[in-house]
Amino acid sequence: MADNSTAYFYTTKHTEKTGIGAIIREHKGQGKKILRLAAGALRKTYKGALLGPMWALIKPSFTLFIMWFAFAVGLRGSGSVNGYPRFYFMLTGYIPWFYINEAIVQGARSIRQNSQYVTKLSFPMSNIMTFTNLASLIVNVGLTLIMYVILVIKGCCPSVYNLQFFFYCPMMFIFFWVLTWTTAPMAAFSKDFENLISSVMTGMFWLSGIVWDTASVKNEAIRISLYFNPINYFINGYRRTFLYGQPMIAEDNYIETIIMFAELFVLMLIGSHYYRKLRRLIPDVL
């Protein structure tokens, strides 16, 4: 028995002083497990359907098709944005939005939805947020591929700037994952918080630059205040990468980048605080 007693060792002693420390410890050596749980979460959602997890791709693709039909066929006169047809402009905004929306809404619900992992099993709680977000990310990478194929066919891509995807995509994952450190425990603790988030997210779609260009807002004060919406940073980042062909660090987005990183830092602090505070209380209230 002693031979592998180190593999299964659990103590409440010497717990980390910070939530970040706890989260890092909870993720050590769990990579494979998290990946499998993410795949399992996808399978679980679409189980019982013939096409299975393919639905995760089909559903948004259908939305995109409708959009294309409406803007490229129906409203031909919907004009262009920054010299690009509105459909491409929206496509490059919609794809990251799909992920952001999923990550925020599902991420906040994750603990409550997987409550059996918290109340019935000894399971590192922060992993729940990770695998939920990862499942959304897997779907989104598939969607990005579809988008890329469309853009290549239409001649907007490829370009060297497409490689910026490998910065924006992981960064987007990290940002909204860190956000769930706060939202998921809070939503698990109080259902009001969960409802608040879903309500806010419906409005966020129109407040963020998905169908319109944030850079072309005339009022200076409003334009600058839009920098504080991190969703805009990532959506514009995707456009720089796939549509405009602009570098990710340029004079016109210094401020935006700095604000995003500052926000990420603040979120880390808040999330760390709330995760540590609520981690031990949640099994008792769920």
């Binding site: 028995m1 299964y8 103590t11 019982g48 399971f123 603790f189 918080f193 709330y274 209230v285």
Partner: protein, 339 residues
């Protein structure tokens, strides 16, 4: 169900699972047939089970007191917050639970359990048994003090926990074993054993939502027993499936004990305790009242239970007496009125 069932064997509290395979379980209590462990110091010896497989507790290995302890509780306190409303709960997120009423469940519990020991926890409802088991399985956290657990824990607490109804039995086995920390190879290695043990046959590739509750229980039990735990946590009713399957479960648990696992056992059954455990911890109002031999613990527990019963009886009698007196008074009054 507190002291009333002290002499019942294996109270079938959640025995809703007989639907599974139609045989149904006889209402008569099934004696725990793990006889012989402490046979020399128990007065009412367990009746011999006609279907006993011949395995007795005598060959259970001696606990290893020199090894690092399997479970250590150091002055563990636990109190639950009682929120008066959803509003209070929402507020508590920002006020650090200030002013929220608390319910103390454990008030400084300390004990050490060594590998190979089988420890029974006894106590009335609300004494903190379940809270302790939850802490050992790593689900609940102490408010104060520390808990240390060495070894793979299998919890026979909520057997059906963590199943996803849409996935098949096989996928669920894989999922649950992953959650319990097993590797891919290990899972493949025990997969057939689990399916065999659960007796699910062709149902194993059907979604779990089509299972009866008995089938789910059997699957849950089969997983927990086959992951080769080092610490086995069992809560009270082992009423899984019909009588035959229950016996199979007990046999496999005994088999595990013989390999030297640590067993933590919550039960009110004298039989099960005396035959399985070599140590008992009696909990009273969130404190360790007694820690030692099973017989002494049971004696103390029974004494306390008797005391409570006596007090209750006295109360009842006092009430009766009062009513009688009142009746007498009324009668006298009636007589007076007539006269």
């Amino acid at each position: 169900m507190s002291e009333e069932i002290i002499s019942d064997d294996m109270p079938n509290a959640d025995n809703s699972d007989n639907a599974g395979r139609g045989q149904g379980s006889p209402p008569a209590a099934v004696p725990a047939d793990m006889s012989g462990k402490n046979a020399d110091n128990v007065k009412p010896a367990a009746p011999p089970d006609p279907d006993d497989d011949g395995i007795t507790g005598e060959d259970f290995p001696e606990p290893d007191y020199n090894a690092p302890p399997a479970v250590v509780f150091e002055d563990v306190h636990k109190s639950y917050y009682l929120y008066s409303s959803d509003k209070a709960r929402f507020k508590a997120m920002f006020t650090n639970n200030r002013g929220v009423k608390q319910h103390p469940a454990l008030n400084g519990v300390s004990f050490t359990i060594y590998p190979g020991e089988s420890v029974g926890f006894i106590g009335r409802n609300g004494a903190g048994k379940s809270t302790i088991l939850k802490m050992i399985t790593g689900v609940s956290f102490p408010t104060g003090g520390d808990v240390t657990v060495r070894g793979k824990v299998a919890a026979m607490l909520e057997l059906t926990a963590g199943f996803s109804p849409e996935m098949t039995g096989r996928e669920n086995i894989r999922m649950k074993a992953t959650l319990l920390g097993l590797s891919e190879d290990e899972i493949e290695g025990i997969m057939d054993d689990i399916i065999d043990f659960a007796e699910l046959d062709e149902y194993i590739d059907q979604p779990v939502r089509t299972y009866s509750s008995g089938m789910k229980m059997r699957l849950g039990f089969a997983i927990n027993i086959n992951i080769k735990p080092e610490i086995l946590v069992i809560d009270e009713a082992l009423s899984v499936g019909d009588a035959r399957f229950r016996k199979k479960c007990r046999r496999s648990i005994r088999g595990l004990i013989r390999t030297g696992v640590t067993v933590l056992f919550v039960s009110h059954s004298v039989d099960a305790l005396t035959t399985t455990c070599n140590r008992a911890i009696y909990l009273k109002e969130g404190k360790v009242e007694f820690d030692g031999s099973v017989v002494d613990a049971l004696e103390l527990y029974n004494k306390d239970v008797e005391e409570i019963r006596r007090r209750r009886r006295e109360k009842r009698e006092a009430k009766k007496k009062k009513a009688q007196e009142r009746l007498e008074k009324l009668k006298q009054k009636k007589i007076k009125d007539k006269g």
